[in-house]
């Protein structure tokens, strides 16, 4: 009878909080979008599933050993932790919700040595960190996973179209205005009193506008790890929505005549140029923005492996086994940040609104920049390829192509849009470097 009672009081049904129930629903919605609507399934399937796992009551899969110890809150454990965490508690004192709040608040106030000591006490009492938390520490806490994915993306990227028409880099630059406009938007929202954002949070949200998953996750993990779940979900969801978000903006900002502009065929790019390009980007990064070196360095390394032609087996592995393994672990890790107390917050709403704004502004900036360049330079640019500057590779380039075909069924813009498309990846990484430089 005793054991039956334990089973019941330890069951999920008995302990399920409303927040957890809502987050499990959110996880199911993400799975639905990923599987049925094909919203970036490679990331959203693991994220959605991880989100459900993270919200299983009592399982503590997304918690550290210390958090698990506090969650169960046995008096002797709390008494052992109190002096280390500098919380005023003695054995026998009432276990009020305020007390638990104080303990949980004390986690972030500890320095590294105290944290190690407190975790040791939790371990001594038999608590261990959940599997999703372990994944998070290894994959995102160390910063390794987004960089390895970026390396794999580099190994899949062809810079040929960009090298054939270098000035499309400027379109990739302009589209980054979405990022910074969002930071201003966050400041406005904060000023309005609707919700609070710090500068760090505003910057981490802005990077959603970069439309690059790994860059968003990398920046969020450094500047605002508590928002990582919402930021990653927003970033990947909006990337999947690019075909819905962009076309109206593109049509609104261009005339039919502009959309019909035919661009001259791209010149052939030699293998040597493709090899030298990633090295050039790395050297420029080294000279001008060391803070972007982890992101751009790994990206260029992947691309060099692809282009140099002498390490196919490494390039293949970077594009397949390695990136797949890291994606599985990264997705589950992001899911670990979808716990109710971190996600069900007014801030998440703000993130969703601002992220959408970032995408729209970035798209518009890219298109307007193309029109500006048309006014200045001779060789005509179809402004529809400007929207591809937000990256979201290769979806945004395909959107440019599709809207172009609507205006002129003979006008194939895909290859021309790939230039600003990959330029957007570099542009976002540079913007990320600037933010990390000033804010971290």
């Amino acid at each position: 009878m005793d054991k039956l009672m334990t089973l019941w009081t330890g069951s999920g049904l008995y302990n399920l909080s409303i927040g957890q129930a809502v987050m499990i629903l959110v996880g199911l919605v993400l799975l639905y979008l990923a599987i049925n609507k094909k919203f970036e399934p490679l990331l959203l399937v693991p994220i959605g599933f991880g989100g459900i796992m993270a919200n299983i009551p009592e399982a503590g899969l997304a918690l550290t050993a210390l958090e698990n110890a506090l969650h169960f809150g046995r008096p002797e454990v709390l008494a052992a932790l109190a002096p280390i965490m500098e919380v005023d508690y003695q054995m026998g004192q009432a276990l009020t919700p305020e007390l638990f709040k104080t303990f949980k608040g004390a986690i972030v106030d500890m320095d590294a040595a105290e944290y190690v000591a407190a975790s040791g006490v939790a371990t001594d009492f038999g608590y261990s960190s959940g599997i999703l938390n372990s994944f998070y520490e290894v994959a995102i806490g160390s910063g390794v996973a987004p960089l390895l994915i970026f390396m794999g993306v580099g190994a899949m990227t062809d810079f040929g179209p960009l090298l054939a028409n270098p000035k499309t880099l400027l379109l990739g630059a302009a589209a980054q205005f979405g990022i910074f406009a969002t930071v201003i938007g966050a400041a406005l929202l904060d000023g309005s009193g609707l919700m609070d954002f710090t500068m760090l949070e505003a910057a981490a949200i802005g990077i959603i506008g970069g439309a690059d998953g790994p860059t968003s996750i990398y920046v969020a993990s450094i500047l605002a790890p508590h928002l990582l779940g919402a930021i990653a979900v927003a970033a990947y969801s909006y990337m999947a929505l690019v075909p819905l978000i962009q076309p109206p903006i593109m049509r609104a900002l261009t005339t039919k005549k502009e959309r019909e502009i035919k661009m001259s065929q791209l010149r052939h790019v030699s293998r040597l140029e493709k090899i030298v390009f990633p090295i050039s980007v790395l050297l420029l990064t080294a000279l001008f923005l060391p803070d972007a070196a982890p992101l751009l360095g790994m990206f260029c390394f992947g691309n060099l492996m692809k282009e140099c032609g002498v390490v196919e087996r490494l390039s293949d592995t970077a594009q397949n086994a390695l990136i797949n393994i890291v994606t599985i672990v990264l997705g589950l890790s992001v899911g670990a940040k979808l716990s109710a107390d971190k996600f069900l917050d007014m801030q998440t709403l703000g993130i969703l609104v601002l992220g959408m704004a970032a995408f729209c502004i970035g798209t518009a900036s890219g298109v307007l920049m193309a029109k500006l360049m048309n006014a200045v330079t001779k060789e005509p640019i179809n402004p529809l390829i400007g929207s591809a500057g937000v990256s979201a590779v290769p979806m945004a380039a395909r959107v440019s192509n599709k809207v172009g075909l609507e205006a002129n069924p003979q006008n194939f813009l895909l290859m021309h849009a790939m230039g600003p498309n990959v330029a957007g990846v570099i542009g976002s990484a540079v913007a990320a470097g600037v933010m990390i430089k000033f804010l971290s």
Binding site: L170, Q176, F177, L188, R271, S280, V430
Partner: protein, 85 residues
């Protein structure tokens, strides 16, 4: 103006400025590089170029065979079907 707003504006200015500077420099480097490479290390005309790539073309070789194979198979299959319909 709140501190956050002034920070945001400053970040936007410096950030966009830097992004543009960096990418403009990169444009310059790319143009220069292409010019230099075209001048001093011109790629051989198409045919030899193909030959040069062959040593490492093992990975893409199957794809090529596939094209032929596909045709061969398409024919074989259609014959087979015609006969067994």
């Amino acid at each position: 103006m709140s501190e956050l707003m002034s920070g945001a504006l400053e970040l936007t200015g410096v950030g966009m400025g830097f992004v543009f500077s960096f990418l403009i420099i990169l444009v310059g480097v790319m143009v220069a590089m292409s010019a230099v490479l075209t001048r001093f290390a011109p790629e051989a005309p198409p045919a030899p170029a193909k030959r040069r790539q062959e040593p490492q073309a093992r990975a893409s070789a199957p794809a090529k065979v596939d094209a032929d194979t596909a045709e061969a198979i398409r024919i074989a299959v259609s014959k087979y079907r015609a006969r067994h319909k």
